[in-house]
Symmetry: C2
Subunit: 354 residues, 2 copies
């Protein structure tokens, strides 16, 4: 199978052993992704016997996968400090394939902390970026938006936030095809003096910088879902709180609607009429279609699939990775950063303000 990778193809390395139902769901996900992306080749890491048994089920994967045996796997309870020392896991080896240039991106449904720790160690942060961030593409009323950081950095300073804005801008341009994305900082008020110091400081820094971005100032959480911004920038704690609150609220409403319909005989009778409407909403809001949080700011692409996703969800994570590789995402970020020195601007502002 060696020739699989020798061609001039887009190669994605895959941790076949991550997630709740691996390797079954992962391999089925590859089969779905392969159908829609004839140019992708997969470098699959995992238990040879188990993965081979799954690969056999999908003829479409025969000529596009290369399997490599990894004797161990990362477990959900493993600590980042342990996993970065174990070179025998499928996750470690899948990421290392990106470092070695064999693949252009890695996708795993395994332990998030472990994936971030190994990715940081092996791929290293892009020069001029201090902290990588977790990014996702999400639905709003009129389209999609990019949100970061979703949990990589609990505490962020103004420079980190400004760097996230640069990376989010590139992502929205390339993954969403928005020519001039509107960038906003997540805050709890619209006025310039509202919120935390680091947010106010980041706002000043972005305004004073030579960054060629459409910075629209602050966005409040209830405005996100109505498309006020194409890129929403927050520290990892706040971003994670917002993300999980959306998840919880959507689940609450879904279960309340189900209960209400079930408890009304009339509503049950009316249910068939609702079929197409319900299908349409499910399509737009289906969390599977937004699977695949990307780690950005590293010399290489690392994509985290939800651990509990199904094959369709995993294929979406693969698609996300492939889109960014095709758009030369990492190189573009490096290029955009070349002309900006946020540290320097940061110094200037400090002198101005204090």
């Amino acid at each position: 199978m060696e020739q699989v990778l020798s061609e001039n193809n887009l190669v994605i390395s895959v941790d076949a052993m991550g997630g709740d139902k691996s390797p079954q769901v992962v391999i089925e996900g590859l089969a779905i992704a392969a159908k829609h992306n004839r140019d992708i080749r997969f470098l699959v890491f995992g238990d040879e016997e188990q993965v081979q048994a799954e690969l056999k089920k999908y003829p479409i994967l025969k000529d596009v996968c290369q399997l490599r045996h990894s004797p161990e796997r990362v477990h959900n309870e493993d600590k980042p400090s342990q996993v970065i020392r174990n070179k025998n896991t499928s996750m470690y080896q899948a990421i290392d394939a990106v470092r070695q240039g064999e693949a252009q991106a890695v996708v795993s449904a395994g332990n998030t902390g472990a994936l971030m720790a190994i990715s940081k160690m092996l791929l290293k942060t892009i020069q001029k970026i201090h902290r990588p961030a977790i990014v996702s593409i999400m639905p709003h009323r009129y389209g999609k938006y990019v949100m970061l950081d979703l949990g990589a950095n609990t505490e962020c300073n103004a420079v980190n936030l400004a760097e996230f804005a640069v990376m989010g801008n590139v992502l929205a341009k390339h993954a969403l095809g928005i020519e001039r994305p509107k960038i906003a900082l997540l805050n709890i008020g619209a006025e310039e003096m509202k919120g935390k110091e680091e947010i106010r400081h980041a706002s000043q820094m972005i305004r004073n910088s030579s960054m060629d971005i459409d910075f629209i100032g602050y966005i409040e959480p209830h405005e996100i879902t109505f498309g006020k911004a194409d890129v929403v920038v927050a520290d990892g704690f706040t971003g994670n709180v917002a993300l999980k609150t959306m998840e919880g609220t959507a689940k609450l409403i879904r279960s309340m609607v189900k209960d209400a319909v079930k408890s009304s005989f009339l509503a049950l009778l009316g249910l068939p009429f609702m079929y197409f409407a319900v299908r349409k909403i499910s399509k737009t809001m289906n969390p599977k279609l937004y699977n695949g949080a990307m780690f950005v700011g590293l010399n290489g692409l690392s994509v985290k699939s939800h651990g509990g996703t199904d094959a369709l969800g995993f294929s979406v994570a693969i698609n996300n990775a492939a889109t960014l590789v095709r758009q030369n995402f990492v190189a573009t970020i490096k290029e955009e950063l070349e002309h900006i020195d946020l540290e320097e601007i940061s110094q200037d502002i400090f002198y101005e303000v204090y």
Copy 2:
């Protein structure tokens, strides 16, 4: 009308000039509240002519309201630093009535920052409480819960968070009737070492204290809506982000459902069948029914109604205030705090950890 207040009644002072459609909505709200609470008397502050005209419309208010003329009002764009110096506004005078013991609580639909600033200045913080908090009662899948701080304090330390836990506990007991409320700190992970330093520190402090509360540790945002805790404690920034994210997500889903139904002829046909189911959901989720954020930690009760609410919503804010007065909320908090010295525990933990 002086005898209105001389009786041994529950008295609530009301800023009649706050909110988008004042004094109309406010006075109509009082009429609704009066119907359900025969024991409440209202001390109403506002423009005499305008308010009198409204009062005349509701015979039920004739014997339960005392109107006092305030020549000015607080506007939405007024800064807290200005409003605390102007004793002529209806908001200032309504709060001052609580300080002077004429009323036991104040309700206003005006400028939140102004209400907080004047309330803090006139009512003062309870001894042993460092920072007042904004609290609300909200719906989850199986009932209601208390959440604080929703925006009074952008930055909080561990002592502040532990104090919020004590106040939230009292509120859940008295306003929700939960005998032993489950208290949790909002965080982005379940493990003891996750999240921000002040949250971890607060967790230790509460565990090491003599507080008699059922502290269940951390809660993640997506667990809130499923009733894991009766009291959710966060700093004001995080709490405000969570609150507004819920609001935005609920609005997004509502508008997507509307769009989907409208664009399907079949669904429109089925709509009448859904009537009772929709009414049930609207009843549970109706934001008006959760109107009335309370400022707790002060020597007196100050309740903020949403500025854009209707009369029903304003009456809910009045009900919330009345419930807490009847339960002797302020005195109970003081009592509970008597036996706890969080500062001291805080010192102990610092020595232990560092």
